[in-house]
Amino acid sequence: MADPMRIRANMTGDKVEVKALMAHEMETGLRKDAKGNLVPSHFIRNVTVTHGGKTVLSAQWGTSISKNPFMHFRFKGGKPGEKVTISWIDNKGDKRTDEATIASGS
């Protein structure tokens, strides 16, 4: 099981600002190891962010998203104390779901 994501969800005005950092190798399948063998691709393919049962962002990714992917976006309709849930699944079927509580922000 992959390491937990780091998720921050803060109110900015009437919007929830979400920043997430996922722990993942994001291997392209093009890189060679020290012995010259190709390292098989291993990358997150789908990311879904939900709030109150509604999807607020869904993404499909290729191999060219950086290692330990970062994602930042904003949505309307959230309130402090509510949860934002982020899930990902990679090309090997590994998956991870984490949630964060919306903070009132500054």
Binding site: T28, K32, V56, L57, S58, Q60, G77
Partner: protein
């Protein structure tokens, strides 16, 4: 797309079906989502747009790409895209000179700002396209990012 490539695609599908059959991938569980393999396999901007369902795209001044002019490290290039086009449904990031053009596609439901920011890998200096689907139409903006150290080498 040549015949050999089709063979590879078929085999890929077979592996997925096998994974599903053996219960590695449980259908309908959690994130049961499609992944547009055809789009992520494309090797040019025009092919990617086609694979994403468009016939072409128009340049738009209402799309803003925020990224460095020069990336010191191609492995981590911050790219943000903001669309001011009404009814923006999706934002995709395309890197023309990467081995595979399409980097990411974000679907933007109503209520979510037409803005995404992430970090991408770039093999070499390239034009980066932000493709926006708004009200069923395809638009793009482009920005060249110079890379001094590639991000896909080993």
């Amino acid at each position: 797309m040549d015949a050999k490539r089709r063979e590879v695609l078929k085999t890929g599908g077979g592996v997925l079906a096998l994974a599903a059959a053996t219960g590695i991938l449980k259908p309908g569980e959690g994130l049961a989502q499609e992944w547009n393999k055809a789009a992520f396999d494309t090797r040019s901007v025009s092919d990617t747009i086609k694979a994403l369902g468009g016939s072409g795209s128009s340049p738009s001044g209402a799309i803003e790409i925020t990224a460095p002019d020069i990336a010191e490290n191609g492995a981590v290039v911050p790219v943000a895209v903001e669309s001011k086009l009404p009814r923006t449904q999706a934002i995709a990031i395309l890197i023309e000179k990467n081995p595979n053009t399409l980097s990411a596609e974000f679907e933007i439901p109503a209520g979510t700002d037409p803005f995404v920011s992430t970090r991408v890998k770039m093999a070499e200096t390239s034009n980066v396209y932000a493709l926006v689907i708004a009200d069923g139409k395809y638009f793009h903006a482009v920005k060249e990012i110079k890379v001094t150290i590639g991000g896909c080498g080993g």
